[in-house]
Symmetry: C2
Subunit: 211 residues, 2 copies
DNA sequence: TAGATTGTTAATCGATTAACAATC
DNA sequence: TAGATTGTTAATCGATTAACAATC
């Protein structure tokens, strides 16, 4: 339906707006102007108004934005109310840490199982989930309508496993391996979390005294 | 010494160049043109040449770039050969996963200790490190010339702890808590790893079929 | 030498900022 | 109503791409 092109620069800011607006709700704030929000976030008021107006006019002249309804609009834009099902593939230290601690439900996602060589179960913030042998992953994806795969595997296994998951029906990948996945042909979105890139950016900024 | 302004857009691409160039070395490639690298990385040759030329002329007309010397230049630019010392503050599941698995040495960083309520020790890829009680962190930073603090704490403790660390002499923060740290006044670089922002970007792109 | 590919300048494109009429 | 602040258009700024002379 939405046809208008939205730049990646704008998209990358949306989750940050969502996070700030949620913090304000927690603090009991119920109204904010683009000017005040800009100051909090280190942006310009103009940019915030431009960004939000890519998706609709959520504010009110002379008043600003109602924080709760802005939160709801942002959740809607980001697709956080769709209850997508996710699995985690590779349950080493990183996979285990994510499984145990991360609040998937705050992004509208339900983590329903893990896959690894061994099986067992892991407690999450929302109760335990089962860990199944990796061999069963394809049929599990199909029979449970799993949309998201979280890949926390050793680098060497990343790309072949990713392809396999996509062939089984996965619609989006959250990639924690240190390599870029080359899945252009498949046409599904991938979000990379490259720890080493992030740490090296910090290193650069420390060298150059960039703040 | 380097005075020329380098945009954040360029900086963010440098670690990715470094990663690709390292991969090529592992594959035994020793020469690459901007055109070939651009195809691998999904960029334009022009952009790669512009980016690299912010820092110097590392290529050779008619030949391209020598992969090994490009790797060395990139390491130098990113400050990966300075052997910075780091500590990790908060050794829950996420801190433990990073400590156990992450190759800090590949970014020229030495993880020398952890801090938490309890003490003990954790094995890393380069041998065990000690975990000390958080109370000792200030004096430890001072007496060991620690430059980087990795913060893997609950959100509530993030900002007060960060301020404390900076006052003790920390020169850069790698932040894994879900909140932005507001340390403008202190003038030190912070690199945020916001898992939820990343996952919500994936969610958005899945909704909009962005690939 | 001829071919290839860089470094770099100029042209284009896109994103951010400024301005202001609309309106709550 | 007067004041505040949006939504939106226009102006500016910066980043990307194209082009090409330099040169290996």
């Amino acid at each position: 339906m939405e046809k208008k092109y939205i730049s990646q620069a704008v998209i990358k800011r949306m989750p940050r707006y969502y996070r700030y607006v949620n913090e304000m709700i927690d603090m009991g704030i119920n109204r904010i102007s683009s000017k005040a929000l800009a100051e909090k976030m280190g942006l310009t008021a103009s940019q915030i108004r431009q960004d939000l107006n890519c998706f609709g006019g959520f504010g009110q002249q002379g008043y600003g934005y109602n924080v709760e309804s802005l939160r709801d609009e942002l959740a809607q834009i980001l697709g956080l109310n769709k209850d997508k099902k996710a699995i985690i593939v590779g349950v080493g230290n990183m996979g285990r840490a994510l499984t145990k601690n991360f609040h998937f439900e705050r992004s509208g996602i339900e983590l329903i199982a893990g896959f690894d060589l061994d099986f067992g179960s892991i407690d999450t913030v929302n109760g335990p989930i089962a860990i199944f042998p990796i061999d069963n992953v394809d049929s599990y994806i199909e029979s449970n309508d799993v949309e998201i795969a979280i890949i926390t595997l050793p680098k060497e296994l990343a790309s072949t496993t990713a392809e396999r998951l996509v062939r089984a029906g996965i619609k989006g990948i959250w990639n924690f391996t240190s390599s870029d996945l080359h899945l252009q042909g498949y046409g599904i979105p991938i979000e990379n979390v490259h720890f080493s890139d992030s740490l090296r950016t910090l290193s650069y900024n420390m060298e150059k005294n960039n703040v």
